[in-house]
Amino acid sequence: MSTGLYGAYGGRYVPETLIPALEELEAGWRALGEDFHQELAELQRTYIGRPTPIYETVRFAPEGKRILLKREDLCHTGAHKINNAVGQALLAQRLGKRRIVAETGAGQHGVATATVCARFGVECVVYMGSEDMRRQAPNVERMKLLGAEVQPVEFGTRTLKEATSEAIRDWISNVETTYYLIGSVVGPHPYPELVRELQSVIGREAREQSLELGRLPDAVVACVGGGSNAIGIFAGFLDDTDVRLVGVEAEGAASLGSGRPGVLHGARSSLLADEDGQIADAHSISAGLDYPGVGPEHAHLRDTGRASYVTATDDEALAAFHRLAETEGIIPALESSHALARALDLDAELVLVCLSGRGDKDLAEVLAH
């Protein structure tokens, strides 16, 4: 492996058909100039609503501890996913692609993609597992309202893993006309790097805002599905070696906590797989964390010890969900609730949590429990 490595992870494990498209993507990405960055900054400010604030909880944090929330839930469309979608849509435009495909689990990335496609006037197809369509129904309606075609994926686990495979197969079949707008720091090189750069705005802002509030946090906590909100906020603090970086996986989808090296969706990373390399099913109440893989950079950060990864159960996430709603008047996404759950008991005085999204989409799922 020569390109796109994070230690022993990453790479380009894809059928040959996609290699020229990945090379084109990388070249287009490297060639982006000042005009791109200006347009992106303008859209971040006027369309997404950046910078998002940091809010210090008043009743959520236990005695003797301060918890700060980086409010990505206040982004347009309700989650950090839009940071990535806007940037990649600008890139797709410069590459001359008029059709965009994406996968979605919780539906937040699908909604973000449908949103930017409406904004830029391009065709949008979103693949979504039928199980996820059931548990994230409001987002399916939103995508349709925005003019996207939602393609149900009816085989295998019927969740994000299968939706991702189908989106990649669509891309293989339509690669000359189509841009694949991946939703997390996963996939073949250069996607993990590209999505990281687009999400690192979270960490840049958060670091500056922390300093304005007085000092850097003792720990930064984020939930980890594919790992994009976590990498985004970690990126701002990687060089601050006194700041602990803590990723929280769903207990039934702990690709870093209980995974092994393997290859899925174009990259080598830490995966839930059996001893023969067959990918295992993940299980989480949160559709956005219900994925057996994770971005290669997280596997590397785990191995080097710069970040640590812990888990939260469905019940712990649900309890944190209710607690934030009742103590602060903020309804968090179930994904983000995993980070909130661990922030509560983490042994640190000043904790910064990436509140990656809002929980409106999760009401039915939460009420059913």
Binding site: G11, P15, I19, R169, V263, G277, Q278
Partner: protein, 230 residues
């Protein structure tokens, strides 16, 4: 004479099926080692992989299947699989054990030329491959070059891909290696037309479908392809 390559999914019936295919005129047999998330495969091979996995066709069972096929036929046998299996088993160990079980070479669908060059294998090229990539793949390939006729996944198509002619021409310009065309070839007419351009054809999804009806049906189907390639 043009070369006929037939793909079969590893399974309990595979030795008998491979024997029938070879008796009917197959020159090379590819044996699919199933993977849970096969990105390059369309619905037919994906379903066959799911079934094979449900029947317990894990790496070790697939290697045993290879041994059983080798006992029945003398043609080249080529496992076709995905990187994840080699990651888990060890790349070198996989290649060694496959060879010991009777494999002639190896195809890894998601390991393009340039990645892990020390693993000897048959490389695939596609209509989207640049001339530079064709040259790289031809330089690294093990014996012949697999031309993916379509920009897409495996599966039968109504027509032979119009992209094949241009791909053959570009590949000939950079290599002397035999060129076998696959993906989307299912009928004797497709095979005949593809073989007018390339040195051989690979038949996958349709062979897997017919194989479900047993060795007799597969033998008839392969014979019809062989006939078209005379």
């Amino acid at each position: 004479m043009k070369t006929l390559v037939v793909y079969l999914m590893a399974g309990g019936e595979t030795p008998a099926l491979a024997e029938a295919a070879v008796e009917a005129g197959a020159d090379i047999v590819e044996i699919g080692f199933p993977f849970s998330d096969p990105l390059a495969d369309g619905p037919v091979i994906r379903r066959a992989a799911e079934r094979a996995l449900a029947e317990g066709m894990r790496t070790r069972a697939c290697l045993e299947c290879l041994v059983a096929v080798r006992e029945r036929v003398t043609t080249p046998l080529i496992p076709m699989t995905y990187s994840s299996l080699l990651e888990a088993y060890g790349y070198e160990r996989f290649a060694d054990d496959a060879r010991a079980a009777g494999a002639t070479s190896l195809i890894v669908a998601d390991l393009p030329a340039g990645e892990r060059p020390d693993l000897r294998r048959i490389q695939l090229v596609a209509p989207t491959s640049t001339d530079e990539r064709l040259r790289l793949a031809a330089g690294e390939t093990d014996g012949w070059l697999y031309l993916v006729t379509v920009t897409g996944t495996t599966g039968a198509r109504a027509e032979l891909s119009p992209a094949l002619a241009g791909l053959v021409e570009r590949a000939r310009a950079v290599t002397e290696a035999p060129l076998y065309a696959g993906f989307g070839i299912s009928t004797p007419d497709h095979a005949r037309a593809a073989a007018e351009l390339a040195d051989g054809v690979v038949v996958g999804s349709r062979a897997v479908e017919v194989a479900e009806e047993g060795p007799g049906a597969l033998g008839e189907y392969v014979a019809s392809l062989r006939e078209a390639l005379r």
